[in-house]
Symmetry: C2
Subunit: 288 residues, 2 copies
Amino acid sequence: MDFPTWMSAVQARTEAVLERVLPAATTAPTRLHEAMRYAALGGGKRVRPLLCHAAGEMFGADPIQLDLVACAVELVHVYSLVHDDLPCMDDDVLRRGRPTCHVEFGEATALLAGDAMQTLAFQTLAEHGGTTQMVTLLAHAAGSRGMAGGQAIDLAAVGKTLSVQELEFMHIHKTGALIRAAVLLGAHTGHADKDAVVRLGHFAGRAGLLFQVVDDVLDAEANTVTLGKTAGKDAAQNKPTYVSLLGATKAKQMAADLRAEAKAALATFGDPARRLLELTDYIVERKY
Amino acid sequence: MDFPTWMSAVQARTEAVLERVLPAATTAPTRLHEAMRYAALGGGKRVRPLLCHAAGEMFGADPIQLDLVACAVELVHVYSLVHDDLPCMDDDVLRRGRPTCHVEFGEATALLAGDAMQTLAFQTLAEHGGTTQMVTLLAHAAGSRGMAGGQAIDLAAVGKTLSVQELEFMHIHKTGALIRAAVLLGAHTGHADKDAVVRLGHFAGRAGLLFQVVDDVLDAEANTVTLGKTAGKDAAQNKPTYVSLLGATKAKQMAADLRAEAKAALATFGDPARRLLELTDYIVERKY
């Protein structure tokens, strides 16, 4: 199977599992369930599920179980987007080419939809073959010393000048932690051994940072229609980014270096790491 | 040990475990961790931990493990209070006799603090001896078909006339689900058998509703200083309550009936159910 076909297949599976795991819009409370489905379904690159599947396939993980683990990670990601877009946070009106959840459903319902999607993430993982170790791993990645912590650092950074090291610290938490969890949870689903998990952790660290550097370049250079979210937002909100700190040329060089490092971390795995290599290229070459 | 001594001991243990499980205020991101500690520590009746311990002790559960399970339930409760107090929800400024979390730390930090406390709840349960079955139970109680769903129904009910049946449906979700989870997770920690769990579930259903009816009476009759939160809020916000629907006299009669039913559900357990019986009385007789 070539990479685009594989990617489309995983994206379609992700959509189908989310569709099944999310309560029906006809189940009470209907408006809350509508809002959850609006936010989670019908869009998204599904980068985390792709990474989860790619890592899991390396170790022969059961695809059905991988679907559910990947779905749990994606639900954490989607909940964080809904809360991040709220007026008290980034106050954004556009996401995946559509009005954000609170614009469509009101702030209170969006808040609860985010809350309930976080809960559903842990429920999905615990109910469908995840171990308590995997629940702990996802919680560490999502919590105050992971993703939510990164968002708090992001908040505190608005209008400030950060060093490249401080910016990296922020992104390791804000985006890196969950990307790392996606890779490692995939590997755990396939019962990867400890040594493999350590090496994949190193790959995931580089890939997570790479994802963010490319995101910063896209935010500065692409337009709103292509991105499906408001372009130029970082500069408008006076947020430090790799582009604002290093300039576009150096940021692109940094991306090239991270891409090489990420790939190098996979070298010892040989051919089974093919999808992760392809995904690394995809992360750099994507247009949105 | 008499009941007040037992209750104080469990409350002190709960405070100590929360203190230990919550990241230090000196750990980055410090402001987020300060906000989490502000919201979770130094107050609260700890009704859910009390119920969890009382149920666990009936089946000889390890007290150290009960502390952590009870702490997980309390973290879900505290996160829900922080989000419930936000301007887009109940917009409340007073909680446990102090400014609410968003008044003290700003909306964005309060939002993230709530998010991170929910995560920490699942992390605590999964990391410290809870089973995946227990994680699933807590998630069901907290999610869109439990507590978060109840809050959505509550939102939709503002300004409407509900029947007593509709009000009960709302409260079974909003408060009942987590109270039930507190009791059942305590019982699971003590490896209670299936039959005992069913009987305790019946008790918990009555106790949860009882808690809410008494809450409605207190909101209508007590003052803000005694409650430590804004009194008369339900009427001011035009929210349906048992008092607005039935009048105070009938609401109190309903509480008396529920108290009797809750106690009757414990009859077959005999003396080991003593703490749950005492807690039932406490729920009715409390002043805040």
